[in-house]
Amino acid sequence: MNKVIERSMIVPNMHLLEIESPQIASKVKPGQFVIVRGTDEGERVPLSIADYDAEKGTISIVFMEVGASTSVLARLKAGDEVATCVGPLGNATSIENFGNVMLVGGCYGIGSLYPLAKELKAKGNKITTVLEARSSYLIYWLKRYIPLSEKIITITRDGSMGQKGHVSRLPDVIHGMPERPARIFVNGCTYLMAHTSEVTKDLGIPVVVNLNPIMIDGTGMCGVCRVTVGGQMKFACVDGPEFMGHDIDWKEFLARRKAYMTEETIFFRRSDAHAHNEGKCAWHE
């Protein structure tokens, strides 16, 4: 169970992990996630699902290596097993024919939007895909989006690909479109989702975000993933993970997201951290 089929780095620090899990593969829908634990002592990490194949019985995840637990996942090899892979968790995205839709992806979100893009396309939507990154070398899966999209716009911070800037350019992009999107779906880091929600506030277009808070069980039991949506307390794991971006208290959400930032990086200063052992880092034992 939970055998690793493939693990590869697709762009610097961003990894693709394909896991054998027929149970999940036969059930999963766009917008859902799994909780993965690399080893028996490992932390439970919620990760969005980026692709799945019911016939093959596999699911794929795109994740960024940020701390202790993801660094364990980033070192898996084909044939390894992960201790836990449980799901599919959360509610699936409600997909209908909205007409024109816009997908905004950055970071791991470029991966996790992909199943949604396929389903939206299948339902007859016309898709404009916006991929955002610091630089051109961090953009991936462009080829996967080409057949699904009417138009692909890339925005890079350094201008090395497409438009120069970041998602604050979105209103301009939308005003320049012949037909405004009926709905915008944003997947990616918290800043991307918060910022997109912020800059689109006055456009009158619903923005759907897929939240990625800290979780433990993923079944509503622990409540660590709570988020204020429209003034009400929601649990992202069972009430979400998708919510309307304009209703979210982003300041609070960002603070909660960062709660264990120090602990995540402390790991890299420990002498038994993989990166240091393998690289024989001269600055640490």
Binding site: G87, P88, D217, T219, G223, V224, M233, A255, E263
Partner: protein
Amino acid sequence: MNEDKIQEKTSKIDLNRRDMPRQSPEMRRNNFDEVALGYTEELALAEASRCLQCKKPRCVTGCPVEIDIPGFISCITRGDFRAGIKKLKEKNCLPAVSGRVCPQESQCESKCILGNKKAEIAIGRLERFLADWEASEGKVDLPQKAKPTGKKVAIVGSGPAGLTVGGDLILLGHEVTIFEALHKAGGVLVYGIPEFRLPKAIVQREVDYLKALGVNVFTDFVVGKTRSIDEFLEEFDAVFVGTGAGLPWFMSIPGENLNGVYSANEYLTRMNLMKGYQYPRSATPVKKHLKVAVVGGGNVAMDSARTALRMGASESHIVYRRSHTELPARAEEAENAEEEGVIFDVLTLPVAYIGDENGWVKEIECIKMQLGEPDASGRRVPVEMPGSNFRMQMDAVVCAIGNSPNPLVPATTPGLDTTKRGTLVADPETGKTTRDRVWAGGDIVTGAATVILAMGAGRKAARAIHEYLTMEKQ
């Protein structure tokens, strides 16, 4: 009988209820090892021989699973521990657990005739003694199983209710599969109750025992997500739902979503299931908190406050809106907490949490309460004292005010009716739900209650499921 004779009779009765050795408060507040150390053989014999072996034992009427209490105690008196554990296991497949966490003082022991002399038999400690004796022998007798019936039962949730149903039905010859959402079986016994009160090795022992009997256990399987009850009904002849009370309550006061404000479920799960007390050896990060306020007065609140001390807090407070007398926690647990140095702020209600510039809690604002008239439950209602607001510096708050039933299964199972409180509608005698071939028991039916009540409900449901599976018509 005249006065003299009564005097003579009672004077022969040993009224010395034997204490159980415990780690000293100074020691134990610095470690996660079990607080109570269990009876030695001598102590167990001495305590057991105090039992009057009543003709009409009242203790049994206080036991939700009707254990033959005088029966197992007389085995101890005779020194036949193997017969004793066998007697216990006739009615209770988890004696090492219930011997530790059952509120005996309000159940079996409260009915003991020697209670009149404040010297009731320590039934729980004797139960625990037998279970631990068996484990230390390293040889667990597997009871005879009935002939295979060919019937398949799915059990959703591996807490005390699910384990009991599994243990009962496997012995009756049915094929039993338990599905657990987390990565370890045991439910609240592993994620909730801390190591120092119920060592996880003991829960593991009980789960291993069920596995040895032939029960299949699948972890990392979320019923309602990975598969639905409807799908189970195609594959299994009967389904038991024991998903517990896993949706934490908050108070809807300002600042509840600040960092450092935890539900007790999160706090305890981080520490227990995810082994936070071994951080950084275990990967799940935990914060070092110096001043911790635990809101609530039940066992979960005591567990949280005592965990905070062990994690290095210099101050751990119980903030409870009623008075000391109304604390819903077991007296023993509140005492343990007090001995270890937990500070009790009773008649105190938090009204807001105040955060720092980074979104972490730094203070809690409370209001003083006084007790008014008794409410429907007979407890006096706490009433706010206007203008008595005050603030306490705290860098963590654990909200331990209760849980709703987990909604995952009810929400994904059409026809499975729930009450207004979100609990499943089920027959109190059989656990039968409103769906054909589906039974339920434990906190998902009663709302948050005790381990032994869940085990009692499991026992009743197992009986009903067995009846159904062996009906002629089947």
